[in-house]
Amino acid sequence: MSAVSTSSSRARASGPARGSGGPNGRRRLRLGEPGTAWVFLTPAIVLLAGMLLYPIIYTVWVSLSDFDVSTFQPGDWVGLKNYEAVINDPGFLQSLKVTGIYLVIALPLQLVLGFAIAFLLNVAWRGRGVLRALFLIPMVVAPVVAGGIWRMLLDPLWGVVNYALGLVGIGPIEWIGDPTLAMVSLILIDTWRWTPFVVLVASAGIMALPSDVYEAARSDGASRWQTLRHVTVPLLVPVIAAAFVVRWLGAVKMFDIALAATKGGPGQATDVVNLYIYEKGFRGLEFGSASSMATVVLMITMIITFFLFRLSRYLENRW
């Protein structure tokens, strides 16, 4: 607004002919830098509002109403009734617990493995280019396909994993039929699929490390371990933090692998929260409850992500 006013006053100061916007009498609108920026940002903002904000607002609206299946629209306003039901739903609480177990094990595992492999790939050796390329394959496999393929590989009767174990006298193991092993399998599949992503991010970070710091460390007589402990890791903290946050955001919404591999079973052994919400909404048509759960999960995710960002900034500043 101020930019427009300034342009107008400038126009007035520069005389009647120019001030009237030219021979046709049209006024020329000058928006200035912020105004121009907003003009260019508007399509993106409208798109984001439509694609992101509207679904969130709609979900919250549904969560506060009694969803009418006959019209497939939110019906009467029920306040926090759906949220009360969700908080008292043992299945939902169990799925949160299952998600927590999966995240606590899978994320650190993928980060440690990813950075370890990245270090190995960073060392010059014959064939590492091929291996690097092969590492990308799991990432481009659709999660549902990955889940389905692993389900076949782990099958006790037909699967190649049990066949190989059988050669050394182990098994057959009920990888997906046993509640504990089903979670192990889910984490294994997810790790197989997502560790390459961490490897990629870590490799980029490692390659960008400044060589002069290492030369200085070498001339100071630092050992390999000391170099890793006091030079490499501190320098990589922003990369590690970024990789963790990105993986966290990806992992927290995981449900497709679980759907294809275990269907959340046996029982609720691998029933991650998004799968539980999906089943509640799209199979049970309990859209009110499902939306309340989605809103609760969104809030939890936002809070944890906020603290992760704070932690990440703290670690960056510390080193």
Partner: protein, 454 residues
């Protein structure tokens, strides 16, 4: 002058009215659009919302056959994955305009679909488009009931299916066990099952097991013990929709399915649809509780099975105290109320479910008929004879024991609860009694929250 102007205006209005009447509903209309069935110059296009398991088969085989008789009705069949189909169908039926003219639904979905108000009553709303030879009374009552809700006929059975018992005659013979019949009880079945876990090639290792069926966490898995429950005279819900299975009969029924796992191949706890089917077709299991529609691919099509026609037997599921078991799984199809091509849509469904259509479908697609005359008549292919016998017995069983999933809009939510508790029991996370009690409590709470008296 003014009078002339008024007269001219009145004449113009009248002529316009006459023209409008002529174009919208006059005698010429049916001829122009073939009575809603299209003409060579102006064909009618209809869209069908179907399941992806058979949408392609319909598009590639069924539609061309239909077009031999009705060449001016262009049919597009869209397949949707099973897990998404109910929600998509609900969205479709509640949207302001119709994208689809025909909507298909699995057996328990009709109450939900009908409740949207988006389907027409085929018996009353489309009478003017119904062929005089279309015989409603010939359709098996138990099959037709799958498309009925609240006193209205919203769907007709287009893919009749029943949960039946398949058995491998060679494996029974090898084990020295008499083949099962419709009179075989669950007790006898389990006695035989112990013998059917066997080493068929004499290498000292078990390589053939007794049973393959659903065991994983899936809404279809509980249908196995639900059938055992029904064949023992039990019910999931009573006439007032109150939970009625939290008792000894319910526990015993669930225990039946849990016990089956002892005689199933390693890894059977994760079996859904494909795994038991593959195990049976590879000769790894002697019996399979499965949808009858897989018969053709299991016994006839050499590309999909290792078994020969004379190796595969089919009968109703083992009997309980009330009689043999089966479970209804019929896909019905309805016409969308907002469809602008209801005549063409209903004509497509009439042909599909006509005597002629059923004969062709039975012979070429392997889908079961719903018409008594088809079941009792000469099958279009010799291999269908034992199948039709089993289906007829199955229809009698389901009618007697009301062997189907709950007929209420919350049917899928009920099956979800049953699926979870069945999975807990099958995987040993709960006893049959605990699982049944928890399922009963959860279903009761669900129904109460929806306003049903509990």
């Amino acid at each position: 002058m003014r009078r002339y102007l008024r007269l001219a205006a009145a004449a113009a209005v009248f002529s316009l009215t006459v023209t409008a009447c002529g174009s919208s509903g006059g005698d010429d209309a049916p001829a122009a659009d073939g009575g809603g069935l299209g003409t060579a110059q102006n064909p009618v296009s209809i869209r069908v919302l179907a399941n992806d398991a058979f949408a392609k088969q319909w598009q590639d085989q069924l539609v061309p056959e239909f077009n031999k008789k009705y060449p001016n009705i262009k049919v597009t069949v869209d397949g949707v994955p099973y897990n998404d189909q109910l929600a998509k169908s609900m969205l479709e039926l509640t949207s302001p305009t119709a994208t689809y003219d025909v909507v298909l639904g699995d057996d328990p979905w009709m109450p939900q679909l009908a409740k949207t108000g988006g389907l027409v009553d085929l018996k009353t709303d489309l009478t003017k488009f119904t062929d005089a030879s279309y015989d409603w009374d010939d359709i098996n009552a138990a099959a037709l009931a799958a498309g009925e809700w609240d006193g209205h006929q919203y769907g007709v059975p287009v893919r009749s299916n029943l949960l039946l018992m398949f058995y491998n005659r060679s494996l029974y013979k090898k084990a020295g066990v008499d083949e099962p019949t419709a009179e075989t009880t669950w007790e006898q079945y389990f006695k035989d099952a112990a013998k059917l876990v066997q080493d068929t090639d004499g290498d000292g290792k078990t390589d053939s097991w007794a049973v393959g069926t659903y065991f994983t966490k899936d809404p279809l898995t509980p249908t196995i013990w639900q059938t055992a429950l029904n064949s023992a005279g039990g019910k999931l819900l009573d006439e007032n929709l109150k939970v009625q299975f939290d008792n000894e009969t319910g526990v015993k029924a669930l225990q039946t399915q849990i016990d089956m796992l002892k005689y199933a191949p390693p890894g059977a706890a994760t079996y859904q649809f494909n795994e038991p089917l593959e195990a049976f077709r590879q000769g790894k299991v002697a019996t399979m509780f499965m949808w009858g529609s897989v018969y053709k691919g299991t016994a006839i099509d050499e590309a999909t099975t290792t078994l020969k026609e004379d190796e595969v037997g089919i009968t109703t599921m083992p009997a309980g105290t009330a009689g043999p078991g089966a479970h209804r799984g019929i896909w019905t199809a309805g016409v969308a109320k907002k469809s602008t091509h209801q005549a063409a849509a209903w004509t497509f469904l009439q042909w599909t479910t006509s005597k002629e259509g059923e004969q062709w479908i039975g012979a070429n697609l392997g889908t079961f008929p719903a018409r008594n005359s088809t079941l009792e008549g000469t099958p279009p292919a010799p291999w269908l004879k034992p199948v039709y016998t089993a289906i007829s017995a199955g229809y009698d069983a389901i009618a007697k024991g009301e062997m189907w999933r709950p007929r209420l809009p919350e049917s899928d939510a009920v099956q979800q609860i049953l699926a979870l508790q069945t999975s807990r029991a099958v995987s040993g996370q709960a006893t049959a009694q605990e699982a049944i009690h928890q399922a009963a409590t959860d279903i009761s709470a669900l129904l109460k929250s929806k306003g049903y008296q509990q």
